[in-house]
C-alpha cells in the first residue's frame, strides 16, 4: 500500500504535481512510476469516492457528506467550530477545497450567509504561501486553478448575498494567492462596485428588514407616502373602536392635503376602500389598502378644445370674460385613475379591521361619517389580491353608515 510513503518521496511529489522549480530528468519520473505502480498515485489525488475503484477499501472521503448535516444546533458558533475542527485535523489541511465548497453550501442553514466573519474564516482555511506564483508564467496560467476557482466561488457567494468584504479579507487573500491571483482581482472588482451600489436606493430600508409585521407596515407606508412630505403615519388599535370583532393594529397614513380633499368631497358620491395591494420591502411584502375617490373632473377651462391654427373664430382678449374656471394645480394625490385619500395596513387585512380603520379615520375627518364608503374588490389602480374570508361573500360590498 502506498500510504504516506509517496508523499515523503520527493521525486513523486515533484514529478506528479509538476511544480518543481527545476524540471526533473525523465528517467526519475519513469522509475518513480514503476516504484509506485501508478494506480495508488492517481488515487492519492482522487478525492471523490465515485472515481475510486471499489476494491480500495482504505479510501476515505476527505469531507464526509454528513459533516455539516449531523450538527444538531445550527448556529454561527457551531459553524465556526466546524471550521476550527477541520483546521485542527492536520497540518496539511488535506481536502480543504472540498471542505470549503461543502461549507459554502451549508451557510444558509447555519444562518451565516450574510456574515462577513464566517466568510473570512473560510478564506482563512486555505494554506498560506504555497499558492503564490513565483514567476510570470505561473501567474499568467492560473497557478493552482482548483484552489483559485474555489476562492472565486466563495467571493461570488459573498457578492450574491450582498456581503462587502473588508481590508482584512484583502490581506488574507494576498497571503494565500499573492497579488496576481485571480481571487484578488475579483476582490478588487467587488470593492470597486459594491460600495457604489450599496446606497443607491432612494428609499433606504434597514438590512435585514424587521421581522415584526407592524414595523414592516410602518416602513411600507412611510415609503409609499414619501410623495407627500407632510404625510404622517399613525398607529391605531382596533380595540379602541366600539363593536369591532378583530383585535389588531391598524397603521394609517394621511396628509393634510388628503384631509382637505376629503373635506371637500361631495356628500352623495361614494368613496371606495380598495385592496389589498402588495408592496415589497427587500424580501418581504406588505399588503395595503387605499381609500379612493373617483378622479376629479377637469374644469371647463381644460375642456376647451382650442386649435391655435384655427383663425375662423378670433377673439380679442379685452372682450373675453375673466375665466373663473382657473383652478389650482392638482395635488399629487389626484391621480389619473382616482384620488387617493388615505392608505392603511392592518394586522389581519380583514374587512372588519378596515371598517375599524374608517371609524378611526372619522376622528380626524368628520365628513367621513356622511360620505358613503364602499368596499370594492376591483380597482383602477391594478389587480387586487383577494383576501379570503369564510363568512363573507366575495361579491358583497358592505356599506358603512354612521348616521
Amino acid at each position: 500500500m502506498l500510504g504516506p510513503k509517496v508523499f515523503n518521496h520527493s521525486i513523486c511529489l515533484s514529478c506528479l504535481i509538476s511544480r518543481a522549480p527545476v524540471p526533473l530528468p525523465f528517467r526519475y519520473v519513469k522509475s518513480c512510476l514503476r516504484i509506485t505502480g501508478g494506480t495508488e498515485l492517481s488515487r492519492a489525488f482522487t478525492v471523490s469516492k465515485i472515481y475510486a475503484s471499489k476494491n480500495n477499501v482504505d479510501q476515505k472521503d476527505i469531507v464526509p457528506k454528513e459533516y455539516f448535516d449531523k450538527v444538531g444546533n445550527k448556529n454561527k458558533q457551531n459553524y465556526l467550530d466546524m471550521v476550527r475542527i477541520f483546521e485542527g485535523r492536520g497540518a496539511h489541511r488535506r481536502g480543504h477545497v472540498e471542505f470549503i465548497y461543502s461549507a459554502l453550501r451549508h451557510m444558509e442553514e447555519f444562518g451565516v450567509h450574510k456574515d462577513l466573519e464566517a466568510y473570512k474564516r473560510l478564506i482563512d482555511v486555505f494554506p498560506k504561501g504555497k499558492f503564490i506564483p513565483t514567476n510570470i508564467f505561473q501567474a499568467e496560467f492560473m497557478h493552482y486553478p482548483k484552489q483559485q476557482q474555489c476562492a472565486i466561488d466563495l467571493l461570488e457567494q459573498m457578492e450574491e448575498n450582498g456581503v462587502i468584504p473588508d481590508a482584512e479579507t484583502e490581506d488574507i487573500l494576498l497571503n494565500i494567492f499573492g497579488k496576481s491571483g485571480h481571487p484578488l482581482r475579483k476582490y478588487w472588482r467587488m470593492m470597486y462596485w459594491m460600495p457604489k451600489f450599496k446606497n443607491l436606493n432612494p428609499w433606504p430600508l434597514p438590512n435585514p428588514v424587521p421581522n415584526d409585521s407592524l414595523e414592516l407596515a410602518k416602513l411600507a407606508l412611510q415609503q409609499m407616502s414619501s410623495v407627500d412630505l407632510q404625510s404622517s403615519v399613525t398607529e391605531y388599535k382596533t380595540s379602541d373602536v366600539k363593536d369591532s370583532v378583530d383585535d389588531t393594529w391598524v397603521v394609517s397614513v394621511q396628509s393634510p392635503t388628503q384631509m382637505e380633499l376629503l373635506e371637500a368631497h361631495p356628500e352623495e358620491t361614494p368613496i371606495f376602500v380598495e385592496g389589498a395591494f402588495r408592496v415589497w420591502l427587500r424580501n418581504t411584502s406588505v399588503n395595503y389598502f387605499i381609500l379612493r375617490a373617483d378622479p376629479t373632473p377637469l374644469s371647463n377651462y381644460d375642456n376647451i378644445a382650442s386649435d391655435p391654427d384655427d383663425v375662423g373664430e378670433l377673439k380679442t382678449p379685452f372682450e373675453e370674460p375673466v375665466n373663473s374656471a382657473v383652478r389650482l394645480a392638482p395635488s399629487v394625490h389626484e391621480q389619473e385613475e382616482g384620488t387617493v385619500l388615505a392608505m392603511c395596513a392592518t394586522g389581519t387585512s380583514s374587512r372588519d379591521s378596515l371598517l375599524s380603520w374608517i371609524r378611526l379615520l372619522q376622528e380626524a375627518n368628520p365628513r367621513l361619517s356622511v360620505i358613503p364608503v364602499l368596499f370594492s374588490l376591483r380597482s383602477p389602480f391594478g389587480q387586487v389580491i383577494p383576501i379570503h374570508h369564510p363568512e363573507e361573500n366575495q361579491q358583497s360590498s358592505a356599506k358603512v353608515s354612521d348616521k
Binding site: 505502480g37 501508478g38 492517481s42 436606493n201 411584502s285 395595503y288 379612493r292 391621480q335 376591483r378 391594478g382
Partner: protein, 355 residues
Amino acid sequence: MKLCSYVGCRTPWDLFSWIRNENMANTLTSSVIKTLFINPCCFQNPYIIATRNLSAASLLISKSIPCTISNPNSTFKHRNKKSFHTSTCSKTFWERDPKGGYVSKEKRSTIKTIREGLGELKNEIQLWKEEVKEKFEFDPLLLCRPGETDIFWQFGTEASNSKWVTTADSDHNEGFSTCELVTSPAGKGLFRGNLCTAVPKDGKVKKAGYCNMRCTRARKSFKRDSFYDWRMYTHLVIKVRGDGRPYFLNISTMGYFDVFWNDVYHYALYTRGGPYWQVSKVPFSKFFLSSKGRIQDKQAPVNLDRVSHFGISLGDKVEGPFQLEIDYIGLEFDPTHTEEFAYEMYQLPKFIAAN
C-alpha cells in the same frame, strides 16, 4: 465507416495506471494509444478521451477503468455539450450566433417561409416608402428643448405592447419564472409575472430567476438592422408605478464583432411602490457596461448613437409576484447635467485587468 467513442477519465493518470496495472501495454499498441487524445476542458470536467478507433475504445470500456462512457454514435461536439458543468464553460472563442445558442429549434418548410415572407413584403414596402419620403423631406429633429420629455415608447395599446418581447428563464427550461406584458386597468402597460429562484435539477443551471422585457430591434425596411440615435439627450425618463422592487434598465449597444454582441449598459430602477406614479430621470452617464451579466473592467460611457435595444429586467432574487406599470419611456435633454461618466477608472499594473 467512422465511429467515435468517448471515454472520460478523471485524470490521465487513471488511464495510464490502468494500462500499467492490467498489462495492457501489449494489447493496446502504441499506435492505438496515439489515437487517444485528451480534451483540455475546464477543470471541473472529467478528462475526455476520444478515439477514432472503436476497438480500442471498446477495449477501454470492457476493462472497468474508472471512466464514464458516452453514446458511441454521438459526435465529439455533442459529448462536450452534454458533459457536466458546475460553471459556464466556454469551449471556443467565437460565438455562433448573437443569441448565444438560444435560437429557435423550430423547423420550417421552405414553402411556409416563402409564403410568410411574401406576406411581410407589404409592410416592408410601406416602411421603405416612409424611408424614401423621409429622405426627400429631410426634416430631422434638430433641437430638443431642455426640460421637455420626448416620449419614445408610449404603453397601453396592443400595438405598443407588440413592440416588446418578454423573456423569462422558463423559456428555455432554465427556471420557473413567468412574465407577460399586458394592458393595465388604468390603460397603461403592465409588466407582471412571478419570479421564482428555484433551480431546475439538470446539473447545468447554477442560478435561476429572471424576467425581462425588451423592445424589438431598431431596424429599417427589409429587416435591415439600424440603431437609435440618442446623442441629443442626457437622460432617460420613465414613468412607472412599481411594487417596491428594484428593476434593471438595460441599453444594448450591439456591435459588429461577436465580442460586442452582448454589450449591455445597466442601471437600477428603484420603485417606490404604492398607488402613486413615479417619474424617474436616469442620466445616461450612470449606466455601466456589462457583458453576459458580468460588469466589465474597462468601462466607457454609452454609445448613444448605437442603441440597438432597450429593456427592463427583474432579478432581485426574491421569490414572488411582481408588477410594474409603465406609462411611457422618454428621453430628455438637461443642459445642467455635465457629467460624462460616473465611474472613475484607474491605471492598473499590467495584466491585472483588461487594460
